[in-house]
């Protein structure tokens, strides 16, 4: 809060006008439309719409494909979170030991942040291409026949790797910052008391890092729920047999390709509720950090 302010009444609205106009026309109005549409049923030709209350939602929770999509999303999100947070923490701990070379390593590790998810997806898709890719070749030598076009588990592994590869850089940067914020005196005191590196990690570093870890967990889950759409769209397209059909891809698929607007809108509203929940968690965490 500022103590001194300018007295004009019209000027602030003029300053806010562009932002508010874009927000109203392209954010609030479409979101309202989605909510409204989720209560409607449209016939196949879009000629007649009728109000059906919560029927679209009820239908979703009876639909085995939607329930499958929820399960797929959970597996996908948790796998990406564990893989990208785990590897990022390992790399951050290693960089934290470096003095002179930490900058070079950081530069060499952070650039995938700038790579578009679709580009990451296509590169890994190429590496895992069943006929010419290098990984299926290696796996064949080991006796495993890789084919993400037919095997749902292979497809899931492919999208998890591609999505994690891109997210490691982000988590790494925040873990490094988190590690640097831990006072060296704490670890020194523990070392003098005879605690080895492993014990210091579990009794000092990891607990003090938990706010960072929690924050990154929320950010990474948000990333897997929404920003990974291009990875799925460019590689597996939800297949084979729905095995990588995550929620956000299903909204798009049902709305744009299946033209099932009511169901797609209901799915959008459920996703919005999830984002709102995640945003609230994120902001409450930040409030606590400020107090801390």
């Amino acid at each position: 809060m500022k103590r001194t302010i300018f007295g004009n009444q019209g000027l602030p609205w003029l300053l806010l006008a562009p932002q508010l106009a874009v927000t109203l026309v392209f954010f609030l109005w479409p979101a309202g439309q989605a909510v409204w549409q989720s209560f409607l049923r449209e016939d196949a030709f879009g000629l007649k719409t009728s109000f059906i209350g919560l029927e679209n939602y009820a239908a979703l929770f009876r639909d085995p494909q939607y329930l499958n999509s929820m399960q797929v999303t959970a597996v996908f999100s948790i796998s990406v979170a564990v893989l990208s947070l785990g590897l990022a923490l390992l790399l951050a701990l290693a960089v934290d030991r470096m003095l002179a070379s930490s900058r070079i390593y950081t530069t060499l590790l952070v650039w995938p942040y700038a790579v578009a998810p679709v580009v990451a997806g296509i590169m890994w898709w190429f590496i895992f291409n069943p006929t010419i890719g290098i990984m299926p070749y290696v796996l064949r030598q080991m006796g495993y026949d890789w084919n993400h076009g037919l095997n749902g588990n292979d497809a899931m592994v492919l999208v998890v790797i591609a999505s994690s590869w891109k997210q490691i850089s982000y988590n790494f940067l925040f873990f490094v910052a988190g590690l640097q914020a831990i006072p060296a005196s704490l670890r020194e005191a523990a070392a003098i008391d005879g605690a080895g590196p492993v014990k210091r990690f579990f009794t000092i570093t990891l607990p003090l890092l938990s706010p960072t870890t929690f924050f990154l967990l929320v950010v990474t889950i948000t990333y897997t729920l929404f920003d990974t759409f291009p990875v799925i769209h460019a590689t597996t397209e939800g297949g084979p047999a729905q095995s990588t059909n995550i929620l956000v891809y299903k909204v798009f698929n049902d709305g744009f390709l299946g033209l099932n607007l009511g169901s797609s809108a209901a799915q959008s509203v459920i996703l919005m509720a999830i984002v709102i929940g995640l945003t609230v968690i994120q902001f409450r965490w930040i409030e606590r950090r400020v107090e801390y």
Binding site: T23, A34, M98, L108, V119, F215, F252, A265
Partner: protein, 282 residues
């Protein structure tokens, strides 16, 4: 580092070198693939060392594109991506800095309501309201235009919060002094606030440029005219054909070119990039 343990130091170096290699591995393969002839991918395993076709492949992609997969020259697509990224980054900064100025330095009715309306955009990613947003843009006749590509993405709660935070740390005395000297609100904004938040603007610009360049779903939907294709969205169209007609060399050349500008921004402006990343998360 608390104590010197040579074995642990060695282990740390080993972990980091492995990490760097794993992170670079797909890009190396993409680069190698972009330097071979199309026939190198018809059988057996892909080459692991660069070939000699690199300059030709890139020249073909930049100059002519691949007509079989409906890809216009990459030069055009990259120009479109650049225009889109610049409009999004500058637009977001411009409308957010004025919004933050209005919210921090003025008292007016419904100020909190305006603040919350902007805040809500944080919770509505384009993916969840895609069908109705597309309909709005189509009704406004903005399909296949730079305005349609950029304006719907330009609202930014994050940037508004960032500037609000910056302005709140600027001492009140500055504004009092400016008022005593007879400066009006816009003069104060132009001559004090903007110069004082210069590094924040630059850091934010880096993040938003990457965000804008890497847009995928939105450009894919609103552009059906090849004149407005962007390179990141265009890759999907090329890769779809690559499975049937082997032209991995061209696809991978496009992949390399699509990631070059944003990666260069991160590498050469690392300090600003890190600052922007940390600030936008506050």
């Amino acid at each position: 580092m608390v104590e010197d343990r040579p074995i642990l130091n060695l282990l740390a170096h080993l972990v980091l070198i492995m990490g760097v290699l794993v992170v670079a591995f797909p890009v190396w393969l993409a680069f190698v693939a972009s330097t071979h002839e199309a026939t190198a991918f018809t059988s057996g395993v892909i080459p692991l060392w660069p070939g000699t076709q690199g300059p030709e492949n890139y020249a073909v992609m930049l100059g002519q594109g691949v007509s079989t997969s409906g890809a216009p020259p990459l030069m055009l697509m990259m120009t479109n991506s650049l225009i889109m990224a610049l409009i999004i980054a500058c637009g977001k900064i411009a409308i957010s800095i004025t919004s933050a100025f209005a919210i921090v330095y003025f008292r007016f009715p419904f100020r909190n309501l305006a603040f919350w309306a902007i805040f809500i955009t944080l919770m509505l990613p384009v993916e969840v309201r895609i069908v109705p947003t597309f309909k709005v843009v189509a009704d406004l006749g903005l399909l296949n235009s730079y305005a349609g590509l950029t304006v719907p993405l330009i609202a930014s709660a994050t940037a508004t919060f960032l500037f609000r935070q910056v302005f709140l740390t600027i001492p009140d005395e500055l504004m009092e002094a400016a008022r005593i000297d007879g400066a009006g609100p816009m003069k104060f904004f132009r001559d004090m606030l903007i110069p004082l938040s210069r590094t924040n603007i630059a850091a934010l610009f880096v993040i938003l440029f990457i965000y804008g360049w890497n847009q995928y779903l939105w450009p894919l939907l609103v552009t059906t005219d090849a004149k407005f294709y962007t390179v990141v969205a265009g890759i999907k169209r090329m890769a779809e054909v690559a499975d049937a007609i082997p032209q991995w060399n061209f696809v991978m050349a496009a992949v390399m070119l699509a990631m070059l500008p944003p990666v260069a921004v991160v590498v050469f402006m690392q300090r600003l990039f890190v600052k922007g990343l940390v600030e936008t998360e506050k």
